[in-house]
Symmetry: C2
Subunit: 310 residues, 2 copies
């Protein structure tokens, strides 16, 4: 049983109440708390020593990454962050300066994004450092893209470039909050997700959510310089295209919208975010799964993103 | 540096914004999210294998305790829970049935208290099981007792009985949500906290918050049957009174209000909560620290509650 199968089993019959507009299974939960014109987004995300960072990772970057990952989930639902709580699990012999540096990196990113750090706790965690972020934000009802709304014929877009994030980007990325809000305010975004498990893996979440398939154009996949550099390191190196499809932790936005909106999107994006790449990588089709095509033909892509516990 | 000193250092200059009415340092953060007549309470709390439960603890009780602790913090601020997110860190070779049982206990308590489980995540945690609960609730502005409002002359009350919680209560307690709300709606509660670190330790939080001291009557401290039973187990057993003062995890409500309200409180409580003990254990005095008195005189009590990392 992998992470996704476990989640499916655990979330099959969770307690609900009328405040929950969208529960488990999307990037954030969506809550109606009675504030006029606003829904609230609720999310937790944890980073763990040995999984998401190592003993050598600078502590400022650990703290930064912990918050940035949660903000990226908020971005995928066109949210604006409000407040976060920080839970830090620490081994017995932790250095106080190390923990203060974690907070230093985290606080700096919080200030840059208007997020209040409203509390949290420190607790013992014998096996290593664990940081869990609980994040609350808001979004506008009717402008909150879910994972499930893709329609046959939609264009599939992705921001930035993909693959090779572990070379550095996973510690330094800027969550696409402004981009997510602009997209949802200006266009009927049918579905959106942040790319955390890898393009193929996260695209599959969108496809399963809507019962559709995707036809991707191989030459259009935006491969990152880091993925290309790694591919050149030897004959056993991961090919760059495969890296772009399956490496995790890109934290880009992957979304679908009506093909008829694509030209206006590309034009508007260039003016609004001139320094960030936006690429149409293919289209939503009837059926299921992912096909990859180029001038030599089409093939089914069965690879997946990073699977925890696999 | 113990847990409290670390927290003081880390929370000295946290990022803030106008939504935060009360930030780090109370039982929950208090947020103004623009909903008429409501503030929102935001809290995270984690339980860790080897600290808050053992490998022998039944998994249903682990899940129950994880949520119950967070609900107890909400109770201390007279809150009503809305939704929770569940983060579970798991060692590599976890049993799926064990995790499902954790959720079983947690979900049952959630349903009993009207809490939606709106999502969460599972992640790897090499050192053992860790469960972090992020909880959102609401309360009525003007009826949210903080830790800091005690005044000289106030009566100090505590619900239930204290000490010996590790004999079982820490896994089975019912969070005092109804009691907390009733208290804040019916009386001007000056300060309130849930007893998680031990009566003396949590009372000190109230005293420091207001710059006052406490005079407790030794014979009035409500000692639990579990603490008395343990005290009888041998000559080295912890004395029952000391257990009631310093054992952690009682999850009772400790609060102060004007002495003139005490009679009405006791009368009203007996009608509202006939099966739950409520005891006046002393009064708030000028100065600092805790004094314990009985017919033979008064002494300063320097003992504290359970201190993590000490």
């Amino acid at each position: 049983m992998n992470e996704f199968e476990l989640i499916a089993r655990l979330t099959a019959s969770l307690p609900a109440n009328p405040a929950v507009v969208v529960g488990a299974g999307d990037d954030c939960a969506v809550l109606d708390l009675g504030a006029p014109g606003k829904y609230f987004l609720f999310k937790t995300d944890a980073v763990v020593e040995g999984v998401h960072f190592t003993a050598e990772t600078p502590p400022e970057k650990i703290g930064r990454k912990a918050l940035a990952r949660a903000l990226s989930d908020l971005a995928a639902m066109a949210g604006t962050p409000i407040a976060a709580l920080v839970t830090i699990g620490l081994p017995k012999n932790f250095a106080v300066t190390f923990v203060a540096a974690i907070y230093g990196g985290l606080n700096a990113l919080a200030r840059a994004n208007g997020v209040a750090i409203a509390g949290g706790e420190t607790t013992t965690n014998p096996g290593g450092i664990l940081i869990s972020i609980a994040l609350l934000g808001w979004a506008t009802p009717g402008q909150i893209p879910l994972r499930s709304g893709s329609q046959v014929g939609d264009a599939i877009f992705v921001t930035g470039t993909l693959g090779g994030s572990l070379a550095g980007k996973h510690l330094d990325f800027d969550p696409r909050l402004a981009e997510g809000r602009w997209l949802a305010a200006q266009f009927a975004i049918h579905a959106m997700i942040d790319v955390s498990d890898g393009l193929a893996g996260d695209l599959r979440h969108l496809l399963k959510g809507a019962g559709v398939g995707a036809a991707l154009r191989k030459p259009s996949i935006p491969i990152s310089p880091a993925a290309r550099a790694r591919a050149r390191t030897g004959t056993n190196a991961k090919p760059a295209l495969l890296a772009a499809l399956t490496d995790g932790e890109d934290f880009e936005l992957l979304f679908t919208l009506a093909a008829g909106d694509a030209v206006r999107l590309v034009d508007g994006w260039k003016k609004q975010f001139p320094h960030t790449k936006l690429t149409c990588i293919g289209k939503i089709v009837a059926g299921e799964g992912i096909t990859l095509s180029d001038q030599s033909g089409a093939q089914t892509f069965n690879g997946d993103g990073y699977i925890h516990f696999a």
